[in-house]
Each structure stands twice: as structure tokens, then as C-alpha cells.
């Protein structure tokens, strides 16, 4: 019988939640790396027992932890993330130019085809790749050639937080960077270009349709339709049907189109999930009611999913990497909150139950569907 393994990164360690395919009884393992901030964990689709974890600390810097036994034991691997050549400068808060400085890894994306290859998204924004299981890392510097000197950090830092590989074309990768935008390579990471046509940011940018500077919070793709991407932007939920050549808004009847994560159902490419947040200055659900919104029409028409979620006095946030779906026949949906809850739905969002309620603030949630 299939099972699921949910990988949870929190402000004070990592937790691994496992269940059989029914997803109604859970074992909780952790904290792993107790007391340390774990931005993201993700397993290799080629070898699910290989998992990478980004351990970061204001005191001790970046550590990359790797497990080869499904998260039971961990070993640190390479943690030297050196920008290629002289990285130059980027825009700073005060309008001056500021040197590129590595701070942390926000996201790991293991290769779809090779267990030894993994991508890492960094703050200050850059994309790194390892071809030896994380022992050594090389930057793909062509990304920063796309007007990198104009990028500037948002409130959360200048982070590369989303990496999506095209399963039909290994030369094509999409990335997203807070307050810089979305970018695509069609040559395996050598050269990049912004994919922001159609985005409008009238309250964040002096030029609302600039090609860089949009604050993209998250991207999602269904593997069967690699030209269709969904985007949760700072404000606006967006969709492209041509790999980012042109975006259009699909916010429709959402109570707020501000939010962080966005996900696609494992088996229904037109079913999309977001979690509306009240505003950019009030990072909690509208009306204190925690509701996931689902569109079964690829956007524009959204329904609230609230059964099992708190519907009063709920003022948590759901961060950009804190939502995931499994690939069981009845698609499971998972998300974690800054209040330390991890909720699961074993029926595509119709009903929800908490797996855990009292973890440290959840930064990331990923799920592995195991045979």
C-alpha cells in the first residue's frame, strides 16, 4: 500500500510526518536539527530516500544536510556557495548599489532524472547546481545577467525561492525571485530571460509593467502541461498558457488576491489551490477565517474550503513553500502555518484535519508519495 512522507521545515527544526495511504493516522519524527531554522526539505524524485535540508542560522550560517535513508539519519554535505567571478552589486534599500552577499538557501529542487543533481535557490538571489549530491555547488551566473544590478530585496530578503523543471524538456527551467520577478532558461541554465509580460504591479513599481522587479511569491505547474504556470504574486493570482510569454489574471472572486503559496492538484491540471491573506500589511486570513480556495476551472472561479479549518480568531500566515500535494489516487493537500499547525486533506481539499498543532512556525512543507 502506498504511503506518504511529509517533510516540514520550521523555525526551530525539521519534522517528518508519515502515514499510510489512508492518511488518517500519523507518526511524527523530530525535531531534527533541534533549535535551528530549516528553510526547506525536499526529496529526490529519482531516489526518494535522498532528502536535502537547508539548515540556516544567524549565528552559524548555512549548512546543507543530506539524508540517504528517508530522513532517519543525516550528514552535512557542502556548504560553500560562491558566486561566479566578481558578482558585482545590486540595488539596495537606500538606492545605492550593494555587494552580492550569500545569506542562505531558501529552496532545493532535486533533478527529475538524476539523483546526484540538485538545484538550490539562494539569498542573495542566485541559482546553484550540484552534480555530486550536494558536496560541491556551482552557480549558474547567467541568471544574474538579467538586469541583476536592478534587483533589490523585498521585506523578506532577495531570495530565489521557486525552481520548476520542465519534465518534457530538461533544458527548460523556471525560477522566481522575490521583488525581482520570474525567469526562464531554455538552454539548461546558460542564459535566462524575464517572463513577466502581463504582470502589473502599480503599487510596488514606478513602471507597473517593468520586465524585472515584480514580487513573485510562488509558481506552480502540473507536469502534464508544462507550458501552463500559475503564479501567486504579491497581489494578483496569475496564469500563463505559453510558458510565461504572457500572463493573465485569474484572481476572479477570491476575497483577497494577496497570498504566498500556490499549488496544482496532482491529477487535475485545471484545479488550483491558494490561501488568500488579507493584505501585504496584514499577513493573516481575511476575517480571521482560515480558508483554502480551490478553482476547478484553472482560475477565475474559486470556492472556499473551510471544513475542519478554524473559522474564527485565526491570525496565522501560510508561507510560500508551505503547501504541497501528494500523488495518491485521491489527491492529498497539505499546508503549514506560522502558528505551528500542519493541516492535511485526504480528499483534495473538501475536508481538513490537523496532523500536528503545536510545532514551531512552519516555513516549508513538501510531501513524498512512496510506493
Amino acid at each position: 500500500m502506498s504511503s506518504v512522507r511529509v517533510l516540514v521545515g520550521t523555525r526551530k527544526g525539521a519534522f517528518i510526518l508519515t502515514s499510510d495511504g489512508k492518511r488518517n493516522k500519523w507518526d511524527v519524527s523530530g525535531p531534527h536539527f533541534a533549535g535551528l531554522e530549516i528553510y526547506h526539505l525536499k526529496g529526490s524524485p529519482v531516489n526518494p530516500d535522498r532528502i536535502y535540508a537547508s539548515q540556516t542560522s544567524a549565528w552559524f550560517g548555512q549548512i546543507v544536510q543530506r539524508s540517504d535513508d528517508g530522513g532517519q539519519t543525516w550528514e552535512p554535505v557542502g556548504n560553500q556557495f560562491a558566486y561566479h567571478g566578481d558578482p558585482g552589486t545590486h540595488q539596495w534599500y537606500d538606492g545605492t548599489q550593494h555587494p552580492w552577499e550569500f545569506k542562505r538557501i531558501w529552496h532545493f529542487e532535486p533533478s527529475l532524472t538524476d539523483a546526484e543533481t540538485v538545484y538550490a535557490g539562494a539569498e542573495d538571489a542566485a541559482l546553484f547546481r550540484s552534480n555530486d549530491g550536494g558536496q560541491t555547488w556551482d552557480e549558474l551566473p547567467g541568471l544574474r545577467d538579467v538586469k541583476g544590478s536592478l534587483w533589490q530585496p523585498g521585506a523578506g530578503g532577495m531570495c530565489l525561492h521557486t525552481i520548476i523543471q520542465d519534465p518534457s524538456n530538461e533544458q527548460r527551467i523556471f525560477v522566481a525571485i522575490s521583488a525581482a520577478g520570474a525567469f526562464r532558461t531554455d538552454d539548461g541554465g546558460q542564459t535566462w530571460r524575464p517572463i513577466t509580460r502581463g504582470l502589473l504591479s502599480p503599487y510596488e513599481l514606478p513602471d507597473p509593467d517593468a520586465d524585472v522587479g515584480h514580487c513573485v511569491h510562488n509558481l506552480a505547474m502540473h507536469p502534464s502541461r508544462p507550458d501552463v504556470l500559475y503564479m501567486q504574486k504579491h497581489w494578483d493570482v496569475m496564469r500563463t498558457d505559453n510558458a510565461g510569454e504572457l500572463w493573465h489574471e485569474i484572481s476572479g472572486n477570491l476575497p483577497s488576491d494577496f497570498g504566498f503559496p500556490i499549488e496544482v492538484h496532482a491529477h487535475e491540471p485545471e484545479t488550483v489551490y491558494v490561501v488568500p491573506i488579507k493584505s501585504d500589511s496584514e499577513h493573516y486570513p481575511p476575517d480571521g477565517k482560515l480558508r483554502v480556495y480551490r478553482s476547478r476551472t484553472g482560475g477565475d472561479e474559486w470556492e472556499a474550503l473551510a471544513r475542519g479549518l478554524p473559522q474564527s480568531n485565526c491570525y496565522v500566515n501560510i508561507l510560500r513553500d508551505a503547501m504541497a500535494v501528494d500523488t495518491l489516487d485521491e489527491c492529498g493537500v497539505y499546508f503549514g502555518t506560522t502558528g505551528g499547525q500542519v493541516y492535511a486533506s485526504a480528499n483534495a481539499g473538501d475536508t481538513w484535519e490537523p496532523i500536528v498543532r503545536d510545532l514551531p512556525a512552519v516555513v516549508s512543507v513538501e510531501v513524498q508519495t512512496l510506493p
Binding site: 542560522s57 549565528w59 552559524f60 550560517g61 549548512i63 560562491a82
Partner: protein, 98 residues
Amino acid sequence: MIRVVLPVHLQTLAKVKREVQLDIEGPVTQRTILDALEATYPTLRGTIRDQATQQRRPLLRFFACEEDLSHESPEIPLPDEVVSGKEPFIIVGAMAGG
């Protein structure tokens, strides 16, 4: 024999107890201690000083002989008590409120 005291998270990372001992030939300075520490325990690379700049991480402090040596040059010889092993070189995570 130089004695070095590590904060708890670095003990976990290096899989050692609170205090480790190092052999150092030549001058005993912050730099030679950290070089020897990282050579002996490679998992500590980048955790005490930045790998690119070699600067001490801002929220770590170096104490010895009841003195804060954090702002001293990494090239300055350390006190005789540290060199002789009578006193440890202490790496401390700075206090943080909240």
C-alpha cells in the same frame, strides 16, 4: 595542546563534546586556531567565519582569560594561558533576545 570550547550547535555538527583539543605549530592566533579547527572538523567550515571573506560571523564571540577577543585582529598572538592550554579559547553564540 590548545583547548577550544564550542557552542552546543557546533558540538552537534562536529559530533564532539563541549571541548576539543588541537595541536598547533607556530604562532597561536585566532586564525591558526580556526584553521586547525576547520581542518580537523571540516563540517565546521563556514560556521564560525564566512568562507568567502574569512570574517567572524557577526553573532559569534571569542572569549579567553575573561576577555572578549572578538574585535582583535585574527593575527594577534593569543594569551600565554591559551597557548599553554591552561585556559580554553571559547567560541560563544552571542545573546539574542526574543
